[in-house]
């Protein structure tokens, strides 16, 4: 594992979506998936555990136990300032977008199965991470 890669934690209750996200991310040499969580609770457990601490979380919103908003709130109170959070949701409701950003998400992406949109998303995530790194 090269240290020049962005370490990513995938948080999604759908194994299919985690599978797609892994593929999409690893098309780029800049990302490496260091962990997967099946819900919000597992995500918080991971972040507090001994696993590789990620640079980025791809966070789903609707999940059992603790959902994406719970995780966002927890990250805020836990002051995990180094962590970049990108919400990956099936929902495109304006209220979900607004709430996510209000709770500290750095980006909001709509889940997409088209290559074009996926490439665009990766490009934007890379840009976001490099911008935040230089801060």
């Amino acid at each position: 594992m090269g240290t020049d890669k962005y370490k990513v934690l995938l948080v999604d209750d759908s194994p299919d979506d985690r599978f797609f996200e892994r593929i999409i991310l690893e098309r780029s040499p800049k990302f490496i998936v260091v962990g997967e969580a099946r819900d919000g609770q597992e995500a918080m457990d991971y972040l507090q555990g001994k696993g590789d601490f990620p640079d980025l979380i791809l966070l789903d919103l609707k999940m059992p136990r603790k959902n994406g908003f719970d995780v966002l709130q927890w990250i805020q109170t836990a002051k995990l300032d180094r962590l970049t959070v990108a919400v990956m949701s099936g929902s495109w409701l304006a209220e979900d977008v607004a709430q996510s950003l209000a709770l500290g998400a750095h980006a909001y992406f709509k889940k997409s199965s088209t290559r074009e949109e996926q490439d665009k998303m990766i490009f934007e995530i890379e840009k976001l991470l490099s911008d935040r790194k230089s801060l």
């Binding site: 299919d16 979506d17 099936g90 409701l93 889940k111 997409s112 199965s113 088209t114």
Partner: protein, 447 residues
Amino acid sequence: MAASLTKRKMERQPSSDTGKSHAHAGPPKANILIVDDRMDKRLAMETVIEDLHQNIVMASSGREALRHLLNQEFAVILLDVNMPVMDGFETAVLIRERKSLENVPIIFVSAISDTETHVSRGYSLGAVDYILAPIVPEILRAKVAVFVELYKATEQVRRQAEDLLLAHNELEGRVKLRTAELALTNNALRVEVEEREHAEESLRQLNLKLEERVSERTAELRSANQELEAFSYSIAHDLRAPFRQIHGYTELLQEEFSEVLPDEAKKYLKRIESKSKEMGRMVDDLLNLFGVVRQQFDFANVDLNDLVKDVVASSREASPERSIEWKIGNLPTVNCNYGLIRQVFDNLVSNAVKYTRPRNPAHIEIGCNRAEQEDVIFVRDDGVGFDMESGERLFGVFQRLHRPEEFEGTGVGLALASRIIRKHGGRIWAEGRVDQGATFYFTLRKK
């Protein structure tokens, strides 16, 4: 009433018997009573007054005279003073005792020798005149004639008064009868009015109940409809993930295994990919459609000129290869939700662009017919148009009038536009002819 009338007629009967009833032809005759014990004197007087052509009754004594007087009315009595048994004065006293006879004129006939005493006594007994014997015929006739005339005049007045009374009574009777009839009618009317009021009241109650039930039922239907839409929304929402994932896998299959897959398999895979993408689009459109109803939105005054300029600009950008001549009229400012009305114009304009694809150049006009109550905004094109008979289907969900090979689309755009316009309290409709273009109209509340 009728009974009392008859009674009155019967009361008048005695005077009718005298032959003076005005029902007889010719002037009624008056009765003249000559009272004298001597036949020759009676005849002499009768001869004198015969010329008057009245009815003459003779009496040879006071008693007989009284009998006549009880049976008939007389215009005048010629009463001889000097009679045996009961003389004229005694007779006069008896006559005057009778209430009904107290005003009958009496002319005393007396010999000249008794003049002094007779005249004063006669007058004190209510005589109206005096004739002295020997009788001068002209004087007797003239005097009797005066009383006959007087009697006749009095009779006439009395009869007229009677007739008047009769007429009055009859009138009164008729008024009473009519009043009674009116009272009856009135009563019937009141009953009818009451019945009608009662009926009206029950109708009003029934109407109220009906209205209540209609509004209850409407509320039920509305909530059932909302429930159904919420259900559809959640189904559509839940379908998105699997459709997206199916599409994702077909993309991966094509990307990673195209070298090992036989051509036939690759063809099928391409189909699956395209179908799953279409399903995803339909679900997205459905969510959009139901989302419009669920969501609460803000109204603001929007200048449609700016909005349409934007829409046309992005449409040009999206299809730079097309040659379209745009004609954009002056549009009003309306109170609406910007995002939603923008969606309506996006849909109508992209439809116009899509269905004019066979035209080169195509013509698209956006304008507004201004009217007193409402402004009618329209988007007109000279594209492939549609058959008006299927016009109703245009605004239905997933309704398509063209094969997907000809024109792409899910058939939700116009349904969505229709929902948005309705949500704004407006109307939307379309006119078109096959191959002659289409015009879509809608109304919006004025600013």
